[in-house]
Symmetry: C2
Subunit: 280 residues, 2 copies
């Protein structure tokens, strides 16, 4: 890849873990976080070679710039970074929605070097304290180039993520956001909803069995991050949520009328779908 | 405990695992399964000392009789077993609902020796092939005595489950069924529903991230078992399902009106509830 200098903006779980992996591979990592404590921790750990100040001026030294901030903050951070991106061969992000950030990059005139990234990595923990090496090892990562992205930037993005062990999969931003509404944002919304309902009912999480515990684990994820994702993908996510409401209503009605065949059809349908997947 | 002979009716995940644990402790285990292949496997593995035929006559030798059949089958199996229970000091079951089985035992005149059990053990796999030793080690188990149960039967049930490593918690059957509707049956219904919705949308389970995968794992559980549980606890479960529908609708409306505060309130509420539990 031949990259010597990478800047990471936002040193949370994803950004912090990426900085750790890059530093371990001898890359010179520059970093920024709006929380000075995170920045100091990353410097003290020897992960960052240089901390950037609020001007972001130091980005001018980086060949690759990675935004690892909530998707709602990405357009503004891109705007503040733009004056210092002349030397950057690749600008990317790690958000769970891609259309709005790709569009912001195009508007700022840096679409030729912008390839959005979405690593399927991380868990319900967040912040620098949760960051660790090896987070991307074996993880799928969607790469969504801006419409005007140069081939060189696309190849560099692929090689960059492979260098930390991720498995890149190209996808246009629109398809990405539609698919992730169902495969990721909906499961999160359902976990959160189940948590709210159990809270309303006065149930503590420690009272749950194994199934309830695993179904409410990601409800513990960062509300700020997920509010931004949900709002950014609101229309498709709302359709997916409506589909769950409709299926729940049908199940409830089958229960209410003691319709054994209808109730069985629900459990059998879910079981058949799950059984097509042999991974666990 | 001083028990030498236990009969297990139904050699699936729970019954089979219990038989394995008892055999490993030197207890003489008698067994029955309506599937002759399961019965033969358990005999061939040296777990059962004796297989029972459809008459259930052999139950007359057992000091403890355990029903490990779907809750919908339990009343009928109890009725068939009743003529052979003169020697039994304890009759119990392992179903996820308790009121209907406890009531059936009372109707049959064996309430004095009936203590319903519900071990919080097992997973989405089922059948003899999934059974294993140690399944109950450290698992909570609810014990729901019949109203007319003798103290001796209650003490014996506690000691019996402790002997295989479970942690007994007494609870009356009504309270049990109400609580489990929320802590267990609702999470299962939500997992099944999410699986159905993803199937409708043409999504394969292998496309999901970690959160989606763990939220749809128990959708792979036995449809027969869960249909019986859901119908047996239909009224309370329907209320719980309606609560999820209502919370989902509110979330969807907040999305639809770009109500950032409303969306954040959902994610933050779920996160705060999850954060009160420190176990993972």
């Amino acid at each position: 890849m031949g990259i010597r200098s990478v800047a990471v903006i936002g040193l949370g779980l994803i950004g912090g873990s990426l900085a750790r992996d890059l530093a371990a591979r001898g890359v010179r990592v520059l970093g920024y976080d709006r929380d000075p404590l995170h920045l100091q921790s990353a410097l003290a750990a020897g992960i960052l070679r240089k901390g950037l100040d609020d001007s972001l001026e130091g980005l001018a030294e980086a060949e690759i710039v990675v935004l690892a901030v909530p998707v709602s903050a990405a357009p503004d951070v891109l705007r503040r970074a733009e004056p210092w991106l002349d030397r950057a061969r690749l600008v990317t992000d790690v958000g769970s929605t891609k259309q709005s950030t790709v569009a912001a990059a195009e508007r700022l005139g840096i679409g030729n070097r912008f390839v959005g990234s979405h690593p399927l990595a991380g868990d319900h923990r967040s912040g620098w304290a949760a960051s660790r090496t090896g987070l991307f090892s074996g993880a799928r990562i969607f790469l969504c180039p801006a419409p005007s992205a140069h081939e060189e930037a696309v190849v560099l993005a692929r090689d960059f993520w492979r260098s930390v062990g991720a498995i890149p999969e190209p996808l246009d931003a629109d398809t990405h956001d539609r698919r992730l509404a169902w495969t990721s944002h909906l499961p999160q919304a359902v976990s959160t909803t189940l948590a709210l309902v159990l809270a309303d009912a006065g149930i503590e999480r420690s009272q749950l069995g194994a199934a309830g515990r695993e179904m409410t684990r990601v409800a513990g994820s960062s509300p700020e991050m997920w509010t931004a994702i949900a709002l950014d993908n609101a229309a498709v996510l709302a359709d997916a949520v409506a589909a769950v409401e409709s299926r729940l209503r049908a199940f409830r009605r089958a229960l209410g009328s003691s319709d054994a065949a209808g109730v069985h059809e629900c459990f059998a349908g879910g079981q058949q779908w799950a059984a097509r997947d042999r991974a666990d």
